[in-house]
């Protein structure tokens, strides 16, 4: 029973259950949910692209700091050991655990950096009302696809558990990189909350002249 449909560009389908909806302009700070399965389909926030971009740049700088500075140091019986995030990755660097070192490096350093870099590349020109860079769509698609594999926030919880485990064994000092890393986690969560995929794809597609 074919029924007349609105123009295809006015339609939007839920990415989780394929139900068709007519796209509408949302009031400020509103969210649109799929009427069938309840998945979030759009969020409306004015100037959100500029805000997402600034959070992504903040997180990028803090992540560089988190990798470079001392992360934690340990003192016991006159012995001292300072470790950075890189050391934590290299902990697996012997023999059979080598693949694990690569995986951990990707989860906590490479993938977060690539995601943030791709997002900055894709959204940078949009925030200044300019033509998107070549490949901006691929960059944003990549950033979205990598989202589940970026595990900085899980790493921080892991660090907390580890701290409590060694607390009885030795004195642990928290370095600047720890706070930088915690900052990255908070900023990234804020940023991901703000991303409305629908409107960003629309903005990337609509090229101002």
């Amino acid at each position: 029973m074919p029924q007349p449909l609105p123009p295809l560009d006015d339609l939007v389908a839920c990415h989780q259950c394929d139900t068709l909806h007519v796209a509408q302009d949302l009031p400020e700070n509103a969210r649109a949910y799929c009427q069938r399965c309840g998945a979030v389909m759009m969020t409306a926030q004015s100037a959100s692209i500029a805000r997402i971009l600034s959070l992504a740049m903040t997180a990028f700088v803090m992540l560089i700091a988190a990798i470079s500075f001392p992360f934690l140091s340990l003192d016991a019986n006159g012995l001292h050991n300072t470790t950075s995030v890189i050391d934590a990755v290299l902990a697996f660097n012997d023999g059979y655990a080598f693949p694990l070192a690569v995986a951990v490096a990707f989860f906590i350093i490479v993938i977060p950096l690539v995601r943030l870099g791709a997002l900055i590349y894709a959204l940078g020109p949009l925030a200044r009302d300019q033509h998107p860079h070549a490949g901006a769509k691929h960059a944003f698609g990549l950033a979205e696809r990598l989202r589940p594999w970026s595990m900085a926030e899980i790493f921080i919880v892991g660090v907390t558990v580890a701290l409590i485990k060694v607390a009885g064994l030795a004195a642990v000092t928290i370095g600047p990189a720890f706070w930088a890393f915690a900052g990255v986690v908070i900023v990234t969560v804020l940023k991901d909350q703000m991303i409305c995929r629908y409107s960003i794809w629309e903005a990337l597609d609509h090229q101002p002249d």
Binding site: P2, L8, A13, C17, C37, F92, M151, I164, L169
Partner: protein, 213 residues
Amino acid sequence: MGSTGPSTGLITAREAGLVACQRCGQVHVINTAYCKRCDGPLRSRDTQSLQKVWAFLLAGMIAYVPANIYPMLLTNTLVDHTESTIVGGVVDLIHHGSFGIALIVFVASVMIPIGKFVAIIYLALSVHNRSSDNQHERHKAYEVVEFIGRWSMIDVFVVAILSALVQLNTVATINPGIAALSFALSVIFTMLSAQSFDSRLIWDADRTNNDGH
């Protein structure tokens, strides 16, 4: 609260002879290959979804076995050498009185992985049987599985940090055991399994699909 209006009752893009892009939501005439908005590949349904789900799930379950049998942490101190498995580590934490941390590790390393295996088996079987019961509950289960799976990595990161930090020559050293590798593999495979699941299939069962799969 804003909402998107239904176009003509609640019908799917597929029923309307359309295909929707899962990345950006743009709708196209069916059999279009690439999305005109975001250039992503278009597929009305992933017909090989269940095959991939089962394959990755099996790999994840197999890797979970050695992850529990072999030691996760190798601890050397002046006086002794201990090896602790995942469950052994939880028991140690309870002995030290760290009940909260013991609970976090137990939930992340035992309850979440096993819960995920059960949930994915249930979801895959129900889609296979074209069940139309509890669609909302099943969809919720899928969302929870997708969201929570990555948190199992906690224990791998704990091992990484401990092994990097506790390197005090002869006094105390901690090194990763082989179980850390198999546990990480198990989490990765299970995440891939959950990502392969096409959630649109949950909602297809109660509809008459003339074109089938």
